[in-house]
Symmetry: C2
């Protein structure tokens, strides 16, 4: 039997296959507090519980996993994301009561303007919840663990990358840049050494504009073009 005939006869269900999904922890700053996006589950299991946006791959529609992520978040929350990266894939027999389940976990960052421009769709039961208020919610599945993993990734990358800057608007002052790193890391940073490290990293450029402050104008910066990590910085699919 040659391979083309074999493939014609192939029955996908001869294999035991796990449920395979994607889930997204989408972070945004509301004021100075890190929030994340939740959607209320409209179906069983965990009907009515709050959960990360995510769900099943549509094999007929999605070309790759990224497509699934964009499609499911838009469908469940109405939100278009601006930065996305994979965190980890979790698969085991216990995380979903329907059976063996694999989820590919993503992290997304949304700047405050984009968040405000995209009012959470009223047809979806969706909300931005402060990270510190999560304990009261009892998320569906193992989503508390997934949030933990995404927060750990965000904090870890704050130590060696420009990732937290994607929580700011496109242009920002150095003081705002320092503040967003402080909020993510949960610690105060020393201004002089922060600015030296930022300078060494050579990832910012001046916009030529200033932000009026109480005493004087503060120079506005943006990420240099080669350091703007757009949606899907890596080819995942």
């Amino acid at each position: 039997m040659d391979e083309s005939r074999f493939l014609e006869q192939y029955d996908i269900h001869r294999f035991d296959v796990p449920l395979t999904t994607i889930d997204v922890v989408c972070f945004s700053l509301v004021g100075e507090t890190l929030h994340l996006l939740l959607a209320r589950r409209a179906h069983m299991p965990f009907h009515g519980a709050w959960a990360l946006p995510g769900g099943f791959i549509d094999l007929a529609v999605d070309g790759n996993l990224d497509d699934t992520v964009v499609r499911k978040v838009a469908a469940k929350t109405g939100i278009r994301m601006s930065y996305l990266e994979q965190v980890e894939t979790i698969g085991n027999a216990d995380r979903d009561p329907r059976g063996w389940s694999v989820t590919c976990l993503y992290l997304s960052l949304l700047d405050p303007q984009s968040r405000e421009d995209q009012q959470v769709d009223q047809k979806h039961e969706t909300r931005w919840v402060a990270l510190d208020d999560l304990d009261a919610l009892a998320l569906a599945f193992d989503h508390d663990l997934l949030v933990e993993k995404a927060v750990a990734r965000l904090r870890s990358k704050a130590r060696y990358s420009s990732l937290p800057l994607h929580l700011l608007a496109e242009t920002f002052t150095l003081q705002q840049a320092q503040r967003v790193f402080e909020l993510v890391l949960g610690t105060r940073l020393e201004k002089k050494s922060f600015r030296r490290r930022l300078g060494e990293a050579a990832i910012l450029e001046e916009t030529g504009e200033t932000l009026a402050t109480r005493t004087r104008g503060a120079a506005l910066y943006r990420l240099r073009p080669d350091h703007r990590e757009h949606l899907f910085p890596r080819t995942i699919g």
Copy 2:
């Protein structure tokens, strides 16, 4: 209908589910050349082609994805791995001729002694191939791309972690440590600055023993206990 009744009636096949697999790029040094472990495919598709060890989750046997990785590599090559981490999950409609397919890619490092102790099982068609000789092989599926991603991860982590040291025996000289970073990064390093950085990282401890060299004894080091990343350094499952 309550949730328990719903679950009883649940038919996993009401969802389109992709094929979901794991694949492992297992690196080891043979002399001074980075090699990786391949297994010849015993079944269609790509029957007879060389491929990364990996395969399907056994829902009845595997508790989590790590279990699948250990089981499949042992079954296909006879090798027990000593260090393992997840690299990335790749899912799309094109990578497997049988249909939409997701693979969770792992990276493994095996020290030379463990590799020699575990003679590749003769009942498996398995081989260690030099990274530079891969081009001649035409690996199955998208496994060339998977190897690329694992090599990129190994090189990237060589810049900010102790990962390459897991390619060495348990104890090693500072010269051997420098050499393994040079081999992974593909570049010569300056001895003085390498040793300063290694010292600052504070990840090594002296064993108290020396390795006899041509002119004098060289002190032997090992990773400090809190920096030994064992099999499954992260809780993935």
